[in-house]
């Protein structure tokens, strides 16, 4: 059965705008990026709280920090590499070190700008942003979770980075409050723990069904908060299954796979198979074909998981 889908960017922009109707401290920072981030309505309704800075992300992050220092809650959303790589020092010093309540949102994350090439891919954002102490990192996995994660992010006084994708994503979960730093088990199993985050959730859930048909009972953990990671849940599951597989639209180094590997090396001694994009400049092409190429569709994930544990 085909699941109903929604555009992650529009979902995100609408969620922020809805909350901003109640909270006048929320302001938008745009680097010629607000319209494509779902902030069309916000701009119309609250033009005084919508700050356009042009294509100038370093200045935009610094100015967002200044706005936050006066009690505003700036939300700056643009194409993921341009809000992470380009202004990284501003992210570290102005947001992280100064501990300012700025929300940076990288859209078109991973390889979702598939045909635009490596300049527009974001395959290291989890890795570099988690190096900044005190930044919460979110990668919500379906439209309902985007909405609840936006609410939790805006209610938290801490700086945050959120990554969302581009293509419409299916509704997977019922609406429920987002708990920062908490994962949850969405399928119980005993043979292997699969930890997923972000845009690949639907494929991982499907892969769980394929694995079951092959006699493998996977326990699937949904992990929409990358930092702080829910180490307790990972430990509990891994001590049962004795194997972990991570799945993310990110380099296999540095992101969710990296975090879980670090945890395992220090506390669990459980083998970790990391699924994602190899550490290279990814090929370009249609998004779904690209995911299949890197074995990140349901079939590919199931095959890799099976190979890893047999």
């Amino acid at each position: 059965m085909e699941l109903q889908k929604a555009d992650p960017r529009k979902t995100f922009g609408a969620a922020v705008t809805e909350i901003a109707r109640q909270n006048k401290d929320i302001v938008i920072v745009s680097a010629d990026s607000g319209g494509s981030s779902g902030f069309g309505d916000f701009k119309k309704e609250f033009p005084q709280r919508y700050f356009e800075f042009g294509i100038a992300e370093q200045g935009a992050v610094g100015m967002a920090c200044g706005l936050a220092a006066t009690g505003k809650i700036p939300v700056f959303c643009a194409i993921a590499p341009f809000v992470t790589l380009r202004p990284f020092e501003m992210f570290r010093n102005d947001i992280g070190y100064m501990r300012q309540n700025v929300k940076i949102v990288g859209r078109n994350g991973g390889i979702s700008y598939s045909d635009l090439g490596s300049t527009h891919h974001s395959l290291e954002d989890f890795a570099i942003i988690r190096m900044i102490p005190g930044i919460q990192i979110f990668a919500p996995q379906d439209p309902n979770e985007i909405k609840s994660a936006v609410k939790a992010m805006l209610e938290s006084p801490e700086p945050a980075y959120m990554r969302i994708g581009n293509d419409p994503i299916p509704f997977l979960f019922d609406e429920s409050p987002f708990e920062i730093g908490k994962g949850r088990i969405v399928r119980s199993g005993k043979d292997v723990t699969i930890i997923m985050t972000g845009s690949l959730a639907a494929s991982v859930i499907k892969a769980g069904e394929l694995l079951a048909q092959r006699g493998i009972e996977a326990e699937i953990i949904s992990m929409p908060t990358i930092c702080p990671i829910d180490a307790d849940l990972i430990k509990k599951s891994a001590l049962k299954t004795k194997r972990i597989i991570t799945v993310e639209e990110h380099y296999i180094i540095g992101g969710l796979g990296g975090i879980v590997s670090e945890l395992s090396a220090e506390f669990l001694n459980v083998p970790v198979k990391r699924l994602g994009i190899p550490h290279t400049y990814a090929v370009s092409g249609p998004y779904q074909e690209l995911l299949s190429y890197y074995k990140l569709d349901a079939e590919g994930i199931a095959d890799s998981a099976e190979a890893a544990i047999r």
Binding site: V27, R49, G54, A56, Q58, G59, G66, L67, T70, R99
Partner: protein, 279 residues
């Protein structure tokens, strides 16, 4: 007004002495820039800024950001002189766990508004603050001091464009133009002259002054903004290491690790300056 100028000059002399006190504590420090911008900071904190040292987070205060964070000894000295913290803390400079690190940290010391140090950050932060204060309908202004050496940072020009575009006229920037940076003359490293014209062409209101002349600094700050609807910038021509006879205008005093004799000479000179300027 004349008495005020004399008083400010006296305060500046005391603040210069505090800078050297910190160098004695730490054994070294970014002396040259601290002393070149010190008169500007003195006028700001003792004449211009609406602030309350006993209530550093006073919501309606004017803000000050030292974009050239390595000149922090100037900021620490005026904050101390103004009563933000007790003098004894100056003697922790350069020591383990100090609240006065080599670049300022707002989480450690009252009166610090931003963690600067990496160059090219302060102006963007200041512009954002000014926007936020304006949005709240406050009369607060945001002042910042940049070094001339940090002007080539591209992020500065992003903020310079944005401040004019958004007509942020509660933003006032000083360029502490001492003409020297770590490798030589700023005009030889990366020539941005005529600085005034560059700012004008970006839509700022510009004034040029002698940035070590208290009277001129006071004068330029009498009527702000210079033009309604435009950010203001003051190109302050200054002298590196101003106030120390043996160091003035010399590149080698950008970062100072004094000998015992040099340190004692500096202390003697500045003690004498305090006496000479006493009101």
């Amino acid at each position: 007004m004349a008495a005020d100028i004399k008083k400010l000059e006296s305060i500046a002399a005391n603040c210069r002495r505090k800078v050297v006190r910190m160098v004695r504590s730490g054994g070294s420090g970014h002396l040259g820039g601290a002393l070149s911008c010190l008169d500007i900071l003195t006028v700001l904190f003792f004449h211009t800024l609406n602030h309350q040292p006993s209530n550093p987070k006073y919501p309606d205060r004017d803000r000050f950001i030292l974009s050239a964070g390595h000149k922090c000894m100037a900021l620490y000295s005026v904050l101390c002189q103004a009563g933000y913290f007790e003098e004894e803390r100056l003697d922790t400079y350069g020591k383990l766990g100090t609240a006065l690190p080599g670049h300022p940290n707002m989480r450690k010391l009252p009166g610090i508004e931003a963690n600067t140090g990496a160059l090219g950050h302060g102006l963007s932060i200041a512009a954002g603050m000014a926007l936020g204060l304006r949005l709240d309908g406050k009369a607060s202004r945001v002042f910042t001091v940049l070094g001339d050496g940090e002007l080539p940072e591209g992020s500065n020009w992003e903020a310079i464009a944005a401040a004019a575009h958004h007509k942020i006229d509660n933003l006032i920037a000083f360029i502490d133009d001492n003409g020297l940076q770590i490798s030589g003359k700023t005009t030889e490293i990366m020539n941005l002259e005529p600085i005034s014209d560059r700012f004008k062409s970006f839509g700022w209101a510009v004034k040029d002054i002698d940035g070590n002349n208290i009277k001129e600094i006071v004068g330029v700050l009498e009527n702000l903004p210079f033009e309604k609807g435009k950010p203001s910038v003051i190109i302050a021509r200054t002298v590196k290491a101003k106030g120390l006879s043996f160091a003035e205008g010399k590149l080698s005093y950008h970062y100072w690790k004094p000998s015992k004799e040099e340190l004692e000479q500096a202390e003697r000179e500045l003690d004498e300056a305090i006496k000479a300027k006493a009101v």
